[in-house]
Amino acid sequence: MSKITGAEILIKSLQQEGVKHIFGYPGGSVIPLTDKLYQQKDIRVHLTRHEQAAAHAADGYARATGTVGVCMTTSGPGATNLVTGIATAYMDSIPIVAITGQVKCNLIGNDAFQEADMVGITRPITKHNYLVKDIKDLARVVKEAFHIARTGRPGPVLIDLPVDVQLQEAEFKYPKTVNIKGYKPNYKGHPVQIEKIAKAIEKSEKPLLYVGGGVILSGASGELTRLARKSNIPVTTTMMGLGAFPEDDELSLGMLGMHGTAYANHATQEADLIIAVGARFDDRVTGRLDTFAPNATIVHIDIDPSSVSKNVPVDIPVIGDAKTVLKELIRVVKKRPYKDWHDTIRNWKKVLPLKYKSDDKLRPQYIIEQIRQLTRGEEVIIATEVGQNQMWAAQHFTYSDPRTWLSSGGLGTMGYGFPAAIGAQVGKPESLVIDIAGDGSIQMNIQELATAVLEKLPVKIIILNNGYLGMVRQWQELFYSKRYALTTLAEKDLTKCPDFVKLAESYGAKGIRVTAKKDVKKALKQAFKAKGPVIVDFIVEREENVFPMVPAGESISNMLHGLA
C-alpha cells in the first residue's frame, strides 16, 4: 500500500464519515491540511470571517441536519476563538468535530509561536478530545471522534493535530469498528422500568410529558407524538425541545419555565406525574427547586445517567435512548380521558393565554407571528440570537417540526444565531433560514455577512431593534429600579449606529428598514422572496418586555404577567 500524508489521511477519514462541508479559517498550523483540501472536490470548505462563527456554523449544520458538523482552525488564536462555539455545542449536546492545527510536536509545551494547549483548554467543554502526535493513530482517532460525537448523549469532540503530523506519511487504513473500553452508551431502557412507568400512568389523574432537546437529538419526535396522542397526555417542551411536538396540537402546552406559558407552568406544578424525556431539569425550567412540581411522581427517561437525579430526585429513572424507550412505552400505554385534567388545562389556556398589547405600535411579538403566518407550509428554520428576541421567537412562532429551531439554550450565547443559520443553510439549501436577532447580539458576529454573501447563502436576518441589550434592561427595569447600566446601545435614533441597512449594503446584502406595523408583512415578503441574504431592521417598541416571567430563583408558580 502506498503512503499518504497526515493531511490526506484526515481528509480520507472525513470522507469515510460522510463529511461534505467544513467551516473553517486558515493559518500557519493548518496550511498542509488546507492545501490538500484545496485539491479535492468531495468536501466543501466554507471560509467564515471569524473562527467562532465556524464553530457555530458547524453546530447549526448539525442541529438542522442531524449529522455531525465539522469546523477547522489553525493553532493558538484560531483555536481559542473556537472556545465559545464548542462550549455552546457542549451545553446543548450538539455533535460537532473541531479540528485544530497545533505547533510541531517537538515545540509543544515550549510556549511556541501560536501555541495554545487546546486539549487542556477544551477539556471541560468537550465530550472528549485528542492530541494526535503519532500519525499511526490519526485514522482511528477520527473514527472514534465521530463515533463519540454522535452516539450516546451527543457532544463536541476536538482533534488537535500538529502541523508536522499533517506532513508525515503513513499508509491509510480506516478502521471498520470502534472499540473504546470505557464508552458503551446504553440505548435500551430496562423493561422493568418501562413497566413501572406504565403502572404510574395508570394510577395518574394529572400526567404531563415534559420534553427536552434529547427527543430531537434522538430523532424521537414521531414516537413522542404518537405516545402523547395514544395516551392522551398533554405535552410541554423546554426551549431546547421546541419542535419535538407540534405546538398547534390540542395536547400542546407550549414551552415551560422562566418565560414559559402560564398554563405549562401551572400544569407542571399541579401534575401528579411528570414524564421527563430527554430534558435535564435545568434551573431555567424548574425555578426554585424545592417548590418544583410538588405533587408529582417523577419519571426521567434520559441517555445520560448523570442527568438523572442531578437536580431533582427521580422516582422512576430509565436510562436509554428516547426513541427506543418511547417505542416500548407506546406499546404498553392505554388511552384514558383525564377529563378533569384537560378541563383544568383548557381553562388555564383561556384565562392565561400568551398575549401582548395589540395596538398600532410595532411590537416584536407581532413580527414573529407574521413570520409564522407568511411561512406556513414552507420548510422554515428559525435560528435565534439571545435575549428578548430569543424568547419572543420561542413563544410566538408555533413550532411543529424537529430541527427547525436552532437556539443556544444551555450557554445562551449571543452571536450564535447568524452563523448557526449559515451552517443550517449550507445543510438545508432548500429551506428558508431565518435568524431572529437582537441589535446587540447580531453585532457579535455581523462580519459573517461576508460569508453569507460570498457563499450565496440567502439567510434572512430579522433584527428586533430596540436599541437596548433588552433582556438585561428588562431585569434592570424590574429588579434594579430602571438603572440601565451598560445596556443602552442607541440613544434616540436607532438607525444611526450602526445603520443596519447601510451595513447590509456595504457587504453586498440587501437591507430593509421597517418602522411601522403596517409595513411588516410587505417587508417580510420582500425579504423572503429575495435571492440573497437580507437584513430587515425592525425598529420596535423599545421597552417591550417578555412575559410571563418567573424571576430567577423563584417558584415557577410565581409568574409575573405584567400586562395590558
Binding site: P124, H128, I148, I180, K181, G182, D304, P305, S306, K310
Partner: protein, 165 residues
C-alpha cells in the same frame, strides 16, 4: 479489613485507560464540579494499558452518586466502583521524618518503630525517617506516637484499595 466508618468518606476505585492526560481529566472533573478529593493514588495494573485510581471522596450519598456518574461519563474511564458499598482492604504508606536531637530520643524513636512494626528507612545526623504501611487507623496511631518527638516532615501516598473477596 476496614468497614464503613464515616458516612462522609467514600473510597472509589476507578479503572482508567493508561493514557496521556487521563489524570488531568479526572482531577479537572473534581474541581469543575466542586467535588472534594481527600486523596488520590494512581498506578498501573496487571494490564499495562489500564491504571487504577483509588480516590477518597468526601461527599454525601447524593454527591457520591454524581461523582460516580460523572466519572463514568469520561471516555477514558473504564469502570467505577464504590468500595465503601462492600468490604474492602485499604492501605496507605507513610514516611515520617522525626527530629532526633540526641541519642536518647533516637533510641526511643527506634523503639516505637520496632514495637509498631514500622521500618527505619533513613538515619541522618539530626533526624530519622520511619516508613509504615497499614490502614488509616494504624498510620494515625504511629503519627500520634511520634508526634511528641517533633515531626519534621510527612508524606503519605493516599489510600490504595481493593474490594475483598
Amino acid at each position: 479489613m476496614e468497614k464503613k466508618k464515616k458516612m462522609d468518606k467514600f473510597v472509589v476505585s476507578v479503572l482508567v485507560e493508561n493514557k496521556f492526560g487521563v489524570l488531568a481529566r479526572v482531577a479537572g472533573l473534581f474541581s469543575a464540579r466542586g467535588f472534594n478529593i481527600d486523596s488520590l493514588a494512581v498506578g498501573k495494573t496487571e494490564d499495562p494499558e489500564v491504571s487504577r485510581m483509588t480516590i477518597v471522596v468526601e461527599a454525601d450519598e447524593r454527591i457520591l452518586e454524581q461523582v460516580e456518574k460523572q466519572l463514568n461519563k469520561l471516555i477514558d474511564v473504564i469502570r467505577v466502583q464504590d468500595l465503601t458499598k462492600g468490604d474492602y482492604v485499604a492501605r496507605e504508606l507513610i514516611l515520617l521524618k522525626v527530629r532526633t536531637s540526641d541519642a536518647k530520643v533516637r533510641e526511643k524513636v527506634v523503639r516505637v518503630a520496632e514495637t509498631t512494626g514500622a521500618e527505619i528507612v533513613d538515619v541522618g545526623k539530626r533526624s530519622i525517617t520511619v516508613e509504615d504501611t497499614g490502614d488509616e487507623h494504624k498510620i494515625n496511631a504511629l503519627m500520634e506516637l511520634l508526634r511528641p518527638y517533633g515531626i519534621l516532615e510527612i508524606v503519605r501516598t493516599g489510600k490504595v484499595a481493593l474490594p475483598s473477596e
